[in-house]
Symmetry: C3
Subunit: 212 residues, 3 copies
Amino acid sequence: MPLVPPLPASLPTAVAPALPAVIGFADLAGIAVFALSGALVAARMRQTLVTMCFFAVITGVGGGSVRDLLIGAPVFWVHDRWVALVCLGMAVVCWITPHRWWRGAALEWADAVGLGAYAVLGTTKALAYGIPPVPAFIMGVITGCVGGVIRDCVAGRPSIIMRPELYVTAAALAAALCSAGQALHLPKGWVWAVSALAGFALRAAAIRWKLA
Amino acid sequence: MPLVPPLPASLPTAVAPALPAVIGFADLAGIAVFALSGALVAARMRQTLVTMCFFAVITGVGGGSVRDLLIGAPVFWVHDRWVALVCLGMAVVCWITPHRWWRGAALEWADAVGLGAYAVLGTTKALAYGIPPVPAFIMGVITGCVGGVIRDCVAGRPSIIMRPELYVTAAALAAALCSAGQALHLPKGWVWAVSALAGFALRAAAIRWKLA
Amino acid sequence: MPLVPPLPASLPTAVAPALPAVIGFADLAGIAVFALSGALVAARMRQTLVTMCFFAVITGVGGGSVRDLLIGAPVFWVHDRWVALVCLGMAVVCWITPHRWWRGAALEWADAVGLGAYAVLGTTKALAYGIPPVPAFIMGVITGCVGGVIRDCVAGRPSIIMRPELYVTAAALAAALCSAGQALHLPKGWVWAVSALAGFALRAAAIRWKLA
């Protein structure tokens, strides 16, 4: 099909080389945790494996997809062979494992790690695309929260951002520290670590002490 | 307004020439069926003609729009003079015809045809844009299901993918066969026919025998 | 990060110079009114300031973002330093002022002004990007209504377009007059003024006399 325009092959990976490899791994781990939370919502509503896969994908990649569309980046998972497979794999993991494995707080803690890491990653990617600090901060919040918002809208549940405990606030703290730190030209490694940790800590405190 | 950048005129039709004309017709027919299902949801809630038009448009073009945004294609209906008119026309058809015409299973069967055809079309378009097989399969499911998901979210109804009968599974079967068949370089005409027919057959069985 | 592709600097402002400055101001005012309506929904549900900010942003920029993605324009607020700040500022205004300020009809009237102006702006921007008249009309309706639709979906409320009084019809009137007037090459200033006024007048009548 020679009429199909060739894809700009350098774009999808344009940002990645500038970020350390650990962020690439954190990225995939964060996607997996979000995908699992989506599959679990479908499992609790006694849906089929295919519907669990659908929820795993929209929850796992929803926030990053909205971010990439808004900043004009190629959507990160579409030209990638692994991200979609990881989401489908998490749905299968959820399907074949006993439900009680996921009943406790383990998933909520993993989600807290993903939230902080994802907000930092989203802010950093937006800044790397030349977005000014305030919109970049919003991109960080979108990356962290919108997958869960889409999951809850489609499932017809009250949205995660309306629940009493702090959720969007933790993503906002991580994204704000990350955006401000990079605007002040502080060392990037420290900015990423401190802001992701702060977001995780606030979310962890909200889970532990029901902060509202 | 010379400051407005000229549109890349070759892009919107870049894929179309490579697909047989019958797919172009199936495409418009599928859009019409989905648009009608959107208009009917609004009609049953005793909404005005304008709100029926709004639902016809978001349901008819929703899935394909999300697919095109994700794969980086120009959104198929935006530069087209007919697709939007077909959606608005279906809302008018729904408005001027007696409701009992649409009460039976006729619409559901038409929707089943559209679902299979649309899942195949979405997968094929994604593959034509160089998307790997697994994300292309997901694009097929998105093309078939997301219009209905948006319709149900906006209407505040339980989402079609949460209902007991198989729906997303039929789209997934068609998209998976289509993606696998093209990855294995089987003859395209056969792959398209068999996968669309398989998706329709599964959905038809789900309607007929309430498969869950 | 030299690997990051340089942004096409001329695109985000490509349309703006062709539109009179008053539209740029109306734009920001319309965003502020929509953002305030989003923050108020969160405030009435006793959410935190951060959640109010989230709702202010998605409501203020939601419709225009969907329009820009569909027509292939750079999303208007992402490369702008002010729009996101205006949305966040409206959430703070909503947070620090007494709730009774916003209890009356003042906000609904302001929203009516924004609806008409926004529908006209959205249609005009789509036409400036070479979109045919019917899809451009739909872009006007999307620009006026979709921010409120997203706000209501995320908040789990009945969508504004399902309420008894005319809402989407007012946006459709403004967008249809604007698209038709420009297709007929009538003087642009008059087309913009008359169509925005007509949309506002219909919405005002719907508020005043509960038109359905």
